[in-house]
Amino acid sequence: MKKSEKIAGNVANYVDERTGAAKWLKKNLTKVFPDHWSFMLGEICLYSFIILLLSGTFLTFWFDPSQREVIYNGSYAPLSHVTMSASYASTLHISFDVRGGLLMRQIHHWAALIFMAAMIAHLMRIFFTGAFRKPREANWLIGVGLVTLGIVEGFLGYSLPDDLLSGTGIRIAEAILQAIPVVGSYLAFFAFGGQFPGHVFIPRIYTVHVLLLPGIFLALITIHLMLVWYQKHTQYPGPGRTEKNVVGYPLMPVYMAKAGGFFFIVFGVTAFLGAVASINPIWLYGPYTPGQISAGSQPDFYMGWLDGLVRMAPPLETHAFGHTISWNILLPGLIVPGILFTGMALYPFIEAWITGDKREHHLLDRPRNAPNRTAIGAMSLAFILVVLINGGNDIIATHFHLTINGIMWFTRIGIFVIPPLVFVATKRICLSLQRADREIVLHGRETGRLVMLPHGEFIEVHEELSPEKKFTLTQHEQNLPLAVPNTDSLGVRNPQGIKGKLRARMSQANAEQVPAPSESEAKALEGGHH
């Protein structure tokens, strides 16, 4: 026995005699993970979170979360002798007087952007492939929670340096709090310890940013991954892949090496961005004061859609009985986002109700084979896109020589018109893709080669698909509309009424599809040809 093997044996022995874990470990070290590029999106979320923990901890060693006023005398000359908060001054200190400090700030900020972007991409992958279906609804809910908290965490982090840009963001957050009916001004005064901006807000959000939310993230991510582990990963359909198996590579060593290596690659890319791509140069904005503002200010992209919603809101307020309700703030700031996120969280349950499907699903859908779901997803993306365009309306206007007024009206109308159009278009595209699949399975792939038949006619040679390809294109289940009975067992009209009808209609829409070709159809065609 080699020396290293002996050591490994001893370690395994030590652990097992104290935990009895040998059996569990043996099984799990050979656990199978399917391989696909889209499965790396979730990994990027995890890795960027770890990068945030590491770079954030570095920043805490110098960052001073205080709104105490100080006079700056660090090495950034243009702000010499300017009065500012300690948190702004310490962020300047990190940027100019701590070696690697600016790098870490930029890595932290880039990692935050990557974290959010990867979470959103991951969520889209889960949605469009139907990975949220039973038994994975809990993980979908955790995911929606993580995205929501990620937006909050990012906003708080971005607010910490107390520069002119982020202070303006806090001002807007305060206005949203203040607009909440009945308790708004109380909430605002409690959060800010009195009148805006006060002296306590930054220290308070600091605790939330570095302790409370990261703790919650850690707990949620742990549960999320344990569930993935326990329920085993989903896989894309293909030859040899069924609802009853997982095809892929074993955890040790292949998956470990790939996933571990990938962590370093993500970290490396983030470090590269931090090194060369300047982000949030707070020294250019100056310290926060409520009487000033920097023009053309843009929030991070994960906040941009909220900004766009606020910008397009109608100028509506209700004044009655000595009270004010600001629809122009509540609608875009709380009500619409609330509906969006609630809808997103409930989607798996709504879909299951419509299809009446109570089975487990471990094979993913190709998006075209679930046209209704894909269209709903595309519609939601279109909504967010229209809103985002309005969030950048000032920048777009100057770039493309348009008027802000024009863009605002375009998006105000577009928000109602474009998403439904996108829904219809996407559904049609899915159905024609299904039709195209059907064509090539039955008639083969066009090769572009022409052959002259004996009697002089030219025909194009069609190449038959491989059995693997044919299987992949036809394996999906056919959606059947729910048979919702119109009458109950006694022949009385269905007591479910509207709810039942709605369900029947939706399940009908959900079942619209081009039938997948079957082997017998293919045989019949072949017979006809020869």
């Binding site: 930029q106 038994p135 206005a175 203040q178 607009a179 409690f190 009148q195 901006p197 009853k244 490396g268």
Partner: protein, 330 residues
Amino acid sequence: MSNEISKFSDPGLPEHIHRKSDSDPMAEKRAEQQVAILFLISALGTVLTIASYIFIKQGTFVYLPILGDVEASQLFLGLGLTISLIFIGFGAVQWARRLMPDTEVIAERHEFRSEEIDRKEFVETIKERAATAGLGRRSLIKRSLGLALGLIGLTPLVMLRDLGPLPKKALNETSWKSGTRLVTDPGNRPIRPEDLEVGSVAQVLPELPEGTERTLENIGTDAVLLIRLRPTEFNLDAKRLSWTHNGIIAFSKICSHMGCAVALYEQQTKHLLCPCHQSTFDVTRAAKVIFGPAARPLPQLAISVDSQGYLVATQGFTEPIGPSFWERSS
């Protein structure tokens, strides 16, 4: 469901194609060397990081194409870090791809739902355990526990009460009073109408009593914009016109939408624009909203001059400034 029956059959996992490094010892050797080289490049990256940390002074700039002037210390630290990290990653992935077994394996999956008998027994067990605690019978205990648990939820709410004072009338108040002088910001000097040319804007604050320090909270409620037009350009009712002085009109600078500083004045159109959400206010018509999400005009401050010719407020604001809140009455 005839097509269910005659679906195309599953041909099973495609045959595994072996890599060159699986059979050719030379190729294997080459792959091994390649991985080792990648790891060594990472080591060089760390050397670069440490050298940059020690030898490059902060505040040294280098010129790079596209990026322009870049601070050298952080650039080279970052590049060193990038190389050291990314090449460990490349090495590990290459190792996995070239040298580790690349045959796909199949693991079985089982339905999560337990056997019928286990499910039954589970329900029985719960019922039985619950019965031993008398959960079904002891409604007095259940109700009092419910009450206790419900009440304990109040504790954190009560305990957070001291987070801040009650708003009382604070949201309705500013430092402006009848006779308060307007002073420049920055500079803190009182101003006369002559200091302001037609077409210009100035940010002003109220003069505070001797010895009072101006806080950010003050600025957040007191900031005012002065704009001077030709008196004939106004389109105001008599009361509002009387609040102006020789073509000078004063508005709260705190946006009536969400409180940003309304900072942009367009001289030609006489519009004030808030950069946050582009609410646009027409100065000639008492800051009426002509575009954007704001629902109310900017509050106007009534001004005049005092005996020494300095601009003063003739009264405080007649309505709360800034964003709306529940208790706001108009």
